[in-house]
Amino acid sequence: MTGINKEDILEKLNPADSFTLAMDEEIRQDGLAGSYGCYALELSKLPDILVLQQRIDEFSQRFPVALASLQQIGRHFYWCKRNEPPTLFFQHHCPDSENEADFQQRTIDRIINHRQARETTAPIEFHLLSSPTRHVFFTRWLHPFTDARGADLILKYLCTADVTQRRQFGLPETEPLVNAQLRKYRWWQKISLLLKGKRYIQTLDSLASIQPFNCDARPQRLNYSIRRLSEEQTERVVSLAREQVGLTGTSLYYIGCLMRALEKMHPDNPGAAYCAPYAFNLRKQRALTPMTGNHVCALFAQAPREIVQDRQKLFAHLKQQNAQVIRQQLDYAFLPLMWAGSWLSLAKYGKILRQSAGSEKERSSFWFSDVGRLDMPADSFPGAEIKAVFYACQVTSPPALAFLSSIYRNQLTLSYSFVEPIGNPEQIERLHQLTLAELLGEAE
């Protein structure tokens, strides 16, 4: 240990945290800010700042890792205490001279692209953007600190008025769910799973992945685009998803539609198949714990180009693939792989996670996350109503594109995150129009 006392260690990163840390390193190597996730609540008016500040303070006291510094000790990384706790809550006011929409875009752009050393950056920050008619509560976290579901729990914590109910969050305290799941296997079962996982990846890697953009340009900044569907459109999408992929794979419908939209946009892009990683959460649905840390395992949806071109065949393929993966326990096969990966250097682990074996080609055609239907009461935010939500996340280049979906107040929100100048707003607009037509079943 260099310069860090043992008693300063709060937590060791779990294998899923290390997975996100390897991606953080890859994104930083691209010259971008790092692996940050962002979750925004659009509010009806200026909230009760005092209550908000008190709850944020209380949250950081209950979960001190929110104030920690990420430090490497030997091969592993740890959340460690720091002498000067970072500021977690920031307020940004729109100057009278500036257009509100421009102010919001500019401020969020600055927050998501802010570059800071991993050791000094705060694990999580809360930003309140206020202007006469627009108010946004914007949360940005460093991915090893928590996953999207954890961020959702943290926001729910801040939105819970009753102190007794707030105390229920984070209880019972458990070890990381990734470790708990790994513990269920005997050592030979772990080895068997690890080999199964390796074979699964090799099969995926036999088809070169199609990339959405030409990545020759140097990545400069993350941009994002938010598109919200009406309640009627959302209802139609949900009904079509159920028709096409049934109750067992709503996320697959979004993935399939995006694959088809990308194929229509660039039918000549090299490669044999679209491949999208997505995570599944090990937390029980509706559980209020664990609040921090990543508790996910990875899955892939992959479809050869000729199948993507046929809508019916594509959804049947994705559905069958998903069933097969779960039936053969390939979803859990990533757990021992993540454990093994956490012993590698970040650079080596990052390459293994991203590149197809034996080539230097990117495995992922895009990053995908479906947050699902959010159940946060609209009137729960201190002093303001939650009107809508949206997300953004930093992504490696390639693929330079991440797609996040969620439904709040019966409206589907599609959040496109993309790296400029590799992707640009005009391309994303075109991609969105094609995706929307697919989602609504209106594509030719």
Partner: protein, 78 residues
């Protein structure tokens, strides 16, 4: 059968504050059983009861409660 289903769902898939208060007719989908959870539940049922549940029957009517699940399994055990 319902006890095993209850143990699996409440231990692995869905959090409810007090499982004893959750009746066999209460709605599992409203309680948070999601698409990934349904898939896992089906694998559990197929392994545990030696049945094959057809994809075409994975509908809310068959998975929305413990009673519905039991009826669905029994239809395929016969």
């Amino acid at each position: 059968m319902k006890k095993k289903l209850r143990d699996f769902i409440f231990q692995e898939l869905v959090f409810v504050a007090d499982p004893r208060q959750f009746s066999d007719d209460d709605n599992l989908l409203e309680a948070g059983l999601d698409s990934m959870g349904i898939m896992r539940l089906i694998m559990f049922i197929e392994n545990e009861y030696g049945v094959t549940l057809p994809d075409t029957e994975i509908e809310p009517d068959n998975v929305q409660s413990f009673n519905a699940l039991e009826q669905w399994i029994l239809r395929h055990q016969k």
